[in-house]
Symmetry: C2
Amino acid sequence: MTVKRDPAQDDCSIQRTLDVIGDRWTLLILRDVFRGVRRFSQIQSDLGIAKNLLTDRLAALVASGVVEKVPYQDRPVRHEYRLTDKGRALSPALVALMRWGDEWCGDGDAPTELVHTPCDTRLELQPWCVVCNEPVAPTSISSRPGPGRHLDQETAHAAT
Amino acid sequence: MTVKRDPAQDDCSIQRTLDVIGDRWTLLILRDVFRGVRRFSQIQSDLGIAKNLLTDRLAALVASGVVEKVPYQDRPVRHEYRLTDKGRALSPALVALMRWGDEWCGDGDAPTELVHTPCDTRLELQPWCVVCNEPVAPTSISSRPGPGRHLDQETAHAAT
DNA sequence: GGGGTTGGTTGCGAATCGCAACCGACCCCT
DNA sequence: AGGGGTCGGTTGCGATTCGCAACCAACCCC
């Protein structure tokens, strides 16, 4: 699962993220868990993933603290996989990926839309600057070295 | 690249998204392109990816319209890979994944932080409801079948 | 002509995947 | 007690994909 990489790349959060969830199945598994599909056999039949792979992926997710395995009944003991706080924090990323698929990969119509429950409006996801109180266009994002280490260049995030 | 899947899953935008970018290298390549690393050899040495794989991935990205190959000089003709609108639209997703890695996968300190250029503040990414004008917690997101087809259930997106 | 750079292609061994078969713990039913 | 079913796996094996190294072709400059 881990990609052999240039040591300089250890500093990239996207790299670190993909080490955890950057596998062909893992995000789909997490999508299921978000949707309430939490049991081994449910996920397996929903995704059509091979059981050995599902075993591996779930174990890796538990090991990295994204989901936890909790019993939901005794006699017989059965477990389900639940999101931890770390896992729940992936929600924005999943929403963003889903919205992108809606808009750019489908026939234009969203097969499922996300709704902000309190006001019942369809949810868009956009970077939002709380200071300026406005949406953030890719072209007005730049990056700079953060508190974590190293000599990086200041680079535009999305110049053309 | 394409996962064999239950026909019912064709309707999932996350599935469709992952068919395009859900590979171990593709998002890293796109991260580089966002950062301004756009030439074959630059990407190759930056990521340490094998050249044949990079060739494949770039061709796939061009085929799916996420990046385009444009000449940046004649004599000799050299090309670079640039984001299309479709590719630029992935920005929120990349930002979300990066922020998650910052917060949950590192030593706590972001190696690189994203900045909203106009106001020079660090960028957070959160689903934001434009109607309520407030951030959206995972627990107040639900999903419903959209205009695109099929019989889905109304399910909570992130009930614990 | 020689050497360098860019952007590839080809071939091959090694790792990973997908599928099918099997398993063991536990339940219920007769 | 025995038979059958479900859940959550494990094991083994052929097929696919990956990673690496070697080679290559076009073009530049000296």
